[in-house]
């Protein structure tokens, strides 16, 4: 894949994620269920992560800037998946979820991001920091865990008696594609497989399109 195609793929993913942010925020605004905030927050972080990856590709000749964007991408992507997983975790505990508990999680997340980057900024130059590519693999494993939890939750709460199976299958499928995208990226990071690299991009775009399709299916119903 050419660099131009990769940049385009990142910005298209960011645009799709932002469309989803709008849909999920609309859902929250009407229902006022605080746990639903996890989705617009999560997809906003994901949109930022795609933009950061695109920016790192644009500035790939300047290693320092490119690496800074990659670090930003790493953190925002994991926070994005964590927020989505939080939304599912709290949906089963919606009665106990208050705006304070969600606010606390958001605050802790933002403080931890700031602390992480603060630590990177003040770390003495002699201190060897792990390379962004090595750290990326650990973060991908964490992302797989978050997405695995969401897929497990959806499968566990799968109740075909409520509606036709065709209506319930899309969300687990979309999250499975996101999982596959992360897994393929991990494989690409380990052995440099081009197939895994292309699959990661295709699976991610497919998952975002599927989420938008779910929204339109419910509008049409």
């Amino acid at each position: 894949m050419s660099v131009e195609a990769l940049i385009a793929s990142e910005f298209i993913s960011a645009a799709l994620a932002l469309i989803l942010v709008y849909f999920f925020f609309r859902t929250y605004r009407l229902t006022r269920s605080i746990y639903l905030l996890g989705l617009p927050f999560g997809f906003s972080f994901l949109a930022f992560s795609y933009v950061f990856l695109g920016m790192s590709l644009i500035y790939e000749k300047n290693v320092a800037i490119s690496e800074s964007f990659l670090w930003l991408r790493l953190i925002t992507q994991s926070f994005g998946f964590a927020f989505v997983a939080f939304a599912y975790y709290f949906s089963s505990k919606s009665e106990k979820t208050t705006k304070y508990s969600f606010g606390l999680i958001s605050l802790v997340s933002i403080i931890s991001i700031l602390l992480f980057f603060g630590a990177l900024a003040v770390a003495p130059p002699c201190m060897e920091l792990p390379s962004v590519n090595v750290t990326d693999e650990y973060f991908r494993v964490m992302n797989l865990f978050f997405l695995g939890y969401v897929i497990y939750y959806l499968v566990k709460h799968f109740e075909p008696s409520h509606r036709a199976i065709s209506g319930l299958i899309w969300a687990p499928l979309a999250f499975s594609f996101l999982w596959l995208a992360q897994y393929s990226s991990l494989i690409w990071g380990i052995d440099g497989s081009q197939t895994a690299f292309v699959l990661a991009h295709v699976a991610r775009l497919a998952s975002l399109i599927l989420f938008i399709r779910i929204y339109y299916l419910s509008r049409r119903a």
């Binding site: 849909f23 609309r26 859902t27 009407l30 229902t31 006022r32 269920s33 639903l36 989705l39 939304a87 599912y88 949906s91 089963s92 505990k93 919606s94 009665e95 939750y153 959806l154 709460h157 799968f158 409520h162 509606r163 209506g167 319930l168 899309w170 969300a171 687990p172 779910i214 929204y215 299916l217 419910s218 509008r219 119903a221």
Partner: protein, 93 residues
């Protein structure tokens, strides 16, 4: 099974739906029956109703009949779509 506690929006949705059904079934809506079916004490139901009137989702027609306005019908429609979306996303508690 323990019944899920409804939030304010869900209660408003239930009241509007019941009022719609009532107006289809009889010429005069009975607030006591709607309050009972919405599973609400009458004083709380009255407060919700006042708020819905304030929001222009319900109006009092001739002879004091409670009528769901087009804004109310729009809310019911939108809420149903959102609930359907959440159900498809596996996010309904």
């Amino acid at each position: 099974m323990k019944e899920q506690k409804r939030n304010k929006i869900q209660i408003y949705f239930d009241i509007l739906q019941l009022l719609c059904r009532e107006s289809k079934l009889s010429a005069k809506s009975c607030p006591t029956r709607v309050a009972h079916e919405a599973n609400l004490p009458y004083d709380r139901f009255q407060k919700c109703l006042d708020h819905l009137i304030l929001l222009s989702m319900v109006s009092r027609g001739p002879e004091g009949k409670l009528v769901v306005t087009s804004k109310g019908v729009e809310f019911i429609d939108e809420y149903q779509k959102i609930v359907d979306f959440l159900s498809r996303m596996g996010l309904l508690p």
